[in-house]
Symmetry: D2
Subunit: 347 residues, 4 copies
Amino acid sequence: MTQQLRIAILGASGYTGGELLRLLMPRADVKIIALTAERNAGQKLDAIWPQYSQADLPTLIPLKDLDPKGLDLVFCALPHGTTQAVITALPRDLKIVDLSADFRLSDPELYRQWYGQAHSAPDLQCEAVYGLSEIHRHAISTARLVANPGCYPTAAQLPLIPLLRHGLIATDDIIINAKSGVSGAGRTAQTNILFAEVAEGMQAYGVGQHRHTPEIEAGLSLAAAQPVMVSFTPHLVPINRGMLCTINVRLNAGVKAADIHALWTQSYASEPFVQILPQGSTPSTRHVRGTNLCQMAVFQDRLPQRVILLAVIDNLVKGAAGQALQNMNLMLGCKETAGLELSPLIP
Amino acid sequence: MTQQLRIAILGASGYTGGELLRLLMPRADVKIIALTAERNAGQKLDAIWPQYSQADLPTLIPLKDLDPKGLDLVFCALPHGTTQAVITALPRDLKIVDLSADFRLSDPELYRQWYGQAHSAPDLQCEAVYGLSEIHRHAISTARLVANPGCYPTAAQLPLIPLLRHGLIATDDIIINAKSGVSGAGRTAQTNILFAEVAEGMQAYGVGQHRHTPEIEAGLSLAAAQPVMVSFTPHLVPINRGMLCTINVRLNAGVKAADIHALWTQSYASEPFVQILPQGSTPSTRHVRGTNLCQMAVFQDRLPQRVILLAVIDNLVKGAAGQALQNMNLMLGCKETAGLELSPLIP
Amino acid sequence: MTQQLRIAILGASGYTGGELLRLLMPRADVKIIALTAERNAGQKLDAIWPQYSQADLPTLIPLKDLDPKGLDLVFCALPHGTTQAVITALPRDLKIVDLSADFRLSDPELYRQWYGQAHSAPDLQCEAVYGLSEIHRHAISTARLVANPGCYPTAAQLPLIPLLRHGLIATDDIIINAKSGVSGAGRTAQTNILFAEVAEGMQAYGVGQHRHTPEIEAGLSLAAAQPVMVSFTPHLVPINRGMLCTINVRLNAGVKAADIHALWTQSYASEPFVQILPQGSTPSTRHVRGTNLCQMAVFQDRLPQRVILLAVIDNLVKGAAGQALQNMNLMLGCKETAGLELSPLIP
Amino acid sequence: MTQQLRIAILGASGYTGGELLRLLMPRADVKIIALTAERNAGQKLDAIWPQYSQADLPTLIPLKDLDPKGLDLVFCALPHGTTQAVITALPRDLKIVDLSADFRLSDPELYRQWYGQAHSAPDLQCEAVYGLSEIHRHAISTARLVANPGCYPTAAQLPLIPLLRHGLIATDDIIINAKSGVSGAGRTAQTNILFAEVAEGMQAYGVGQHRHTPEIEAGLSLAAAQPVMVSFTPHLVPINRGMLCTINVRLNAGVKAADIHALWTQSYASEPFVQILPQGSTPSTRHVRGTNLCQMAVFQDRLPQRVILLAVIDNLVKGAAGQALQNMNLMLGCKETAGLELSPLIP
């Protein structure tokens, strides 16, 4: 066997850290060298993830004990805000996929506006490549630091970017209604995500002010080559995993729903993880659960010159750890689909 | 005690029939005279609804055995389509609240267009009063036949009608994203609503062609005094009960979100079942579960001159049996809130 | 109207506190005078329970600001352990229903053994009457301090006590497999009861060492007039509410399953909240959701001379707030069923 | 590459059929030659399992069109009862793993007793090898027809068989409380497994008469070398997948809980799919979801000389399709774990 890739996961006790483990474990070409956690430092991993009790994995160490020497790549699955300092302290030649929001916005002013304080590592912010794999594949493959996209931005941008690039839809009338499973809210104990607070209910949250909004707009603006603002309303739905974006857009003159289907089909023809459903089919989050897939569909709206776009992903896979692995594959020269050829778990 | 009201429920074995029972049972002034069911005819009610095994309720009879004499009112909770013939056969002076879709569209042509066949009782269609209680209270109180609104139309119209009546929003840019719990799909055995087909997933359905669309549009057109078309996308969410409408609209010139809040507050000031949340609060279906409430909120959208409306109901109560009872109260001269002063079951 | 009963709830922000509110609100003869909460003190109640935003209820105050003068009864829904000191500090003539575990065990030595420290109010421990309403009705009706039973002990004792009193089953072979909904674990933020840690899974917990064990044994020993030990294994199931005890017992010589059914039927003939199902029927937690009912059934086991007992309750109602209200009714001379004549919410 | 194994799945539209597809698809050494379904015959597979729309899989054919020539093995995932005739009609040298209950009982009299009619293929019943892989590995590896165990029997026998073989526990006091996810009830439309009939509730079913009982007893009797009867109570829990057996047993003289832990550890030391948890750990169905694992634990009971055994599996994997694949691997000389080295999907 050739030399194994030497990988560390910073923040291994959250859901994205755990999902990275699930995806990396079957990879014979990968060796997990270090796992960090703060509160749980010193514990064996199976105190946090009992399912890996039989695996040959390192003990959880505090970040300060991490020895980055010889690592090929680090996944950084730490909380937003603290990540900037952590990555600043890592060697400048270490490859990193950062799953936090800290490097997703390249504009320091935009960051300050949405996060209420200045970014502490503006040079890294500038260096970071935005890791929406299908869109920025080339830049990712040569990047040192990749800012892995948020879950909502992934599910929103993949259907919209081709349409904006090719001028099929209006740029001032994009209305995104998004719904997420609860794992997207993380594993930190908070009353509002207790089972008995969430089960058998649904609601919108962060209406008009969710921090994924500027990330979506930045990607769409780039695609449209002009500033794009969106209406974005996220909702919490009582399922573990799954994300659904229902997007209402206005067609430019002469464009039809079939044109969108055709453009998608062509744009994503060689993409292993983007699937365009046959016209009339409706995507379900169940069909992508546990996979790195994004499935999308387009429907003619009843309102003239409008269509409804539907896109589903697994928020922890294509929306987080799966896309991070896809990016690792690109950065380290592995086959892009390695470790990601997964079937959904149904039911 | 004064004379009890004599009530029958046609179609007592489905969820709306069962919910009518739950709401009627505590009413000392109501006596349930007859319950019909076809497949289950002849059975004791507790074979279908064991929770009422101790109650003094009639045995399930087939519709053909119903004796309408002396009844004060009939709830008709039968499947769409078959209801027309049933109601035609009932005495012309019997008061009826019909929970099917058969009499919700007053326009025969519209009915034919959406249901694929001519209405068999156009005179009754003409006679029927649309039972959105808060909007048509006066007509309901003198009606003989009330067409109880659909669940989606209830949750969509209550927030929108005042805005259209007073010209606060554009009539050509109403985008309704709706989510429903599974009980809305009924109690008939179908593979697609099995637990293992629905749990841990979500999806849109009936995109662009759901039959509640013309019902919504009819009500909004009346309010706007001009034809209104809407974009309507329903979604299925794995909860038993609950409905959430997220509605994106464009404000007319000079109108602000606060104006909507003010108009709602004023329009519904004396309504016991419509609650306007304080600005910044987000409604949750859990807070109306088991109740006849509709809670609504308005948020300024990020897109200029647009707002996001949120409305929640319990699809089986305000969306079906609760509003039916509210209408019965109006039709029979009872206190409108009788039997409906309910707290939500949380958690 | 006669004078209203003046009631306070200590610990109004947890699930049992909220459930007391749900049950007390419709009572015209009850006035809620004070609500306490520590972390949330000073807030309006609807910050915690938005469903009561329109109700005329007092602001949350810290316990230290409670003025007990003029109160008819206090519900104490505080955490185990801290309750002893709180109740000690209350006036000695104030009627109290305590929903914590602090006064359920009357034996100081047993308390010390299971709770790891001496009880700080042994005299109150001695004074307290165990509030299993159907069993200790007479003592409750004259008690000052009632220790409201735990949820598991309620569901386990109601089926077993008549059998032990009348010597129908062996006392050394009682095996209780119990399953609870997640609300039983309370509303405090803890990782292990997050939605994403609980949904789509099930497991046993506290095997062989759950603190409800001595409470169950004390009640059964009293009924049997000899020491009884039980095997008790609780499980966590991903539902909001509901509790199911499956109990395997050995029959004494000559006893048959039908004898159990007959004895239950006779013992509970006049009990409004205990329902014996017809032979062959299986109780479901759904049929008691939101109600104060305990439904039970008995099945002949395949093993000779053994039977399987099934009992279901709503852990927050008959297992907590509902029984507490039932006890209040007994203590204050109200009709025992006042506020508790509820139908289950199905589905 | 060497010659691929040629496989057919009879009954590909149910959950076990779908799960076989999920497990077989990644196997480069397997080629799926035929898929049968009756009602859905003629349809492309993705009408039933959209997640395989991109896979190169055959169209669904009716059973009568199956050409068994050249097949290496057939999985038979057909309904109980009809399977006997189907397998009788297949060539006598074709290898078969049957996932129905038809060949699990080798005693014709026992079959007649529990199924109410004579077995129509007693010779095949005699030929069939019971496919509890860890227990009958040798016989399975040379078998032509393997009767794949039921889900409950798998979860019940794996913990019990070593204890009975080595005489650690009493044979007349085995009490099995089992809980299953809803997928175990199949994919046929039935009212009682609708989402809105199952969610937010739990109940026992088939008490004292579930047809898995004689299957469990047959396996345990063989292990004990004497007739064993068990108390078996299954429960339905609202999750998609997962099975938990809580088993109360009496220890023989001188045996302790630690002896069970030691015997299990030794008996299953080389088993890849059986995991004995460290003492004090409690198994959760979430930790085996989507995997072929059986995890088990033992706890000292409070009752003297009794212990509580806990065992969890995924009912569709180790309880059905996964064990079927494990058996295929044994029958065809593949590595036993091929296609089954899976991590659980958490959350």
